[in-house]
């Protein structure tokens, strides 16, 4: 195990997972992973296919239960809490696929994103989300499954922003996007959200692009943390390519 202890200059964690082990009932997919993210920080989780990146995220947002370890949100232990409770507590999650309500209109998607808000607050919040994603404003009445890949991802992120979450968990937001659009989503949208004070956890297949915007990078291999550190430090390591990037070209999906 090649780990570096987190330096003191990382922000205080908002979400902290310690020793998470989880999976789908059989052999655990994620084994003893600890990860945290603080205010304004982007933490990128990278790693080869089947490393357990998505499984880790699903566990953090309450879709999967961890068989050991604990998850702390601020000072509260939220281990085993259901997704709806974590949403209420400010954890927003954008899955890789099935990230919107396809048969609903764009507006209805945003309304559902703001389900926990008061009726009177929803309209104002939709306007604020449209300030972040101005392209969404003119397509409110469109059916969500009629959107292009980029528009769809904007809606998915806009939907999760409705509750103004403290923690934003994004599972491969650039999957299925054209490369130029993918870069824009990462360097503009995601970075901007972190700069606005959100703690962002990002899983990315496009490791280098993710490391360019990340403040902290965790390399997950076979369900365990192989390596973590500041992206710049990791990239300078002579064995980094061998540890991850050199492990063959990334394949689609995981």
């Amino acid at each position: 195990m090649d780990k570096q202890s987190p330096p003191a200059d990382r922000p205080a964690p908002i979400l902290r997972a310690e020793g998470i082990t989880s999976g789908y009932g059989g052999v655990p997919v994620v084994r003893g992973v600890s990860i945290s993210m603080g205010k304004g920080e982007i933490v990128a989780v990278i790693g080869p296919n089947g490393a357990g990146k998505s499984t880790l995220l699903k566990t953090l947002v309450g879709i999967l239960r961890s068989s050991s370890g604990r998850i702390l949100l601020g000072a509260d232990d939220v281990t085993g809490h259901p997704p709806e409770d974590l949403a209420k507590r400010g954890v927003g999650y954008v899955p890789q696929v099935q990230d919107i309500f396809e048969p609903l209109s764009v507006r209805e998607n945003l309304e559902m994103g703001g389900y926990l808000l008061k009726d009177s607050a929803i309209e104002g919040r939709i306007k604020e989300v449209c300030d972040v994603f101005p392209l969404l404003a003119p397509m409110m009445r469109r059916r969500a499954d009629k959107l292009s890949g980029g528009e769809r991802k904007m809606l998915a992120i806009g939907r999760v922003l409705m509750l103004d979450p403290r923690v934003l968990i994004l599972d491969e937001p650039t999957a299925n996007l054209a490369p130029i659009l993918a870069d824009a989503v990462l360097s503009e949208q995601v970075r901007r959200l972190a700069d606005a004070g959100k703690a962002v956890l990002l899983v990315e297949q496009r490791a280098r692009a993710a490391m360019q915007i990340a403040d902290w990078t965790v390399v997950l291999v076979s369900g365990q943390t192989r390596l973590e550190g500041r992206p710049k430090d990791l990239l300078e390591r002579s064995d980094f390519e061998a540890l991850f990037l050199g492990a063959g070209p990334p394949v689609q999906e995981d």
Binding site: V61, G62, I63, P82, P83, E84, A87, K88, G92, Y93, P95, Q98, D99, I100, F101, E102, P103, L104, S105, E108, E111, M112, G113, Y115, L116, D119, R143, D145, R159, V160, L163
Partner: protein, 294 residues
């Protein structure tokens, strides 16, 4: 010509009865992923609730409210204590269908010793006959059509304009994402069963009113027509079920006039089979259940 106009009148009442029933049935499938074969039998239980209330001297329209309440409670309990526990355990769709079939048989056999094998019928004041361009309907029949139209408008308003209705559609489309939004999907599903159960109860009474009489065995016959309408329109689609009901109701009565009453169901189900061959997903089906309203 007159014969066809009269048939159209009967058709409109059939459409009303089928639509009320099929919309409830298809919403159960669309939102909770449950093909509830006990639906027809719940209709009959509710029909008998209204029957006893009616026999005690209460107006059949008031008895209909009692049936709606009975349907809501019975369907809610059926889901809470039978279907939902199996679904949580991961029982597959076919397994759930078998369980609902079992529920149907259990309900029928609990009901039989209580109400017996004989047929029953309501005391309905049919009111004065209303004639319009050859269309002849009793006031009570028109009231059934009005009830159906009002219920369909209410369902439309619910799904399109209310937070609960939109949450139902969101839950149907993507239950995990719905939970990630903070939607209490469990409570939403409870509401679906209460609501569709009430529709089922009303459907049981109007079906009983629309036929000469009804018996415990009528549930199975109702169910077949309901499934046909729901599948024709696209399983899980409330608007599809309304269209399916419209087609099946009108076609059966018109073909009864054109060919012979004995063949009316043959014609209806031939159309169903043809649609299934040409458009297996049903008329309105879209990827995912409960498409955007309108």
């Amino acid at each position: 010509m007159e014969l066809y106009v009269a048939a159209l009148g009967f058709g409109l009442i059939s459409v009303s009865v089928i639509a009320i029933a099929a919309v409830g049935f298809t919403m159960q499938f669309g939102i909770t992923n449950m093909i509830n074969l006990a639906y027809g039998e719940v209709m009959i239980v509710c029909a008998y609730v209204a029957f006893y209330v009616n026999r005690a001297g209460v107006n059949v329209w008031a008895a209909m409210i009692a049936a709606a309440l009975a349907g809501a409670v019975l369907s809610f309990l059926l889901n809470r204590f039978l279907y939902a526990p199996f679904q949580r355990k991961g029982t597959n769709l076919i397994g759930m269908v078998i369980i609902s079939l079992a529920a149907s048989l259990i309900l029928a056999n609990i009901l039989l010793p209580i109400v017996g094998y004989d047929t029953s019928s309501y005391q309905v004041d049919q009111g004065p006959l209303l004639r319009w361009n050859g269309l002849v309907l009793t006031t009570a029949q028109i009231a059934i059509i009005v009830v159906a139209v009002l219920l369909m408008l209410a369902i439309h308003g619910l799904l399109r304009y209310t937070r609960l209705g939109k949450a139902m559609r969101a839950t149907a489309a993507n239950p995990i994402l719905a939970r990630n939004c903070g939607i209490p999907t469990q409570r939403v599903i409870d509401m679906v069963w209460l609501l569709t159960g009430a529709l089922c109860g009303v459907a049981g009474v109007v079906a009983g009113m629309n036929s000469e009489n009804f018996a415990v065995a009528s549930g199975a016959a109702y169910l077949i027509t309901i499934i046909a309408a729901a599948v024709l329109g696209g399983a899980g689609q409330p608007y599809g079920a309304m269209i399916g009901a419209l087609i099946i109701g009108i076609v059966t009565e018109l073909s009864a006039a054109a060919i012979a009453p004995e063949y009316k169901e043959v014609v209806a189900f031939t159309i169903l089979v043809l649609v299934m061959v040409l458009r297996p997903q049903g008329l309105l089906a879209k990827r995912g259940a409960l498409a955007a309203a309108g």
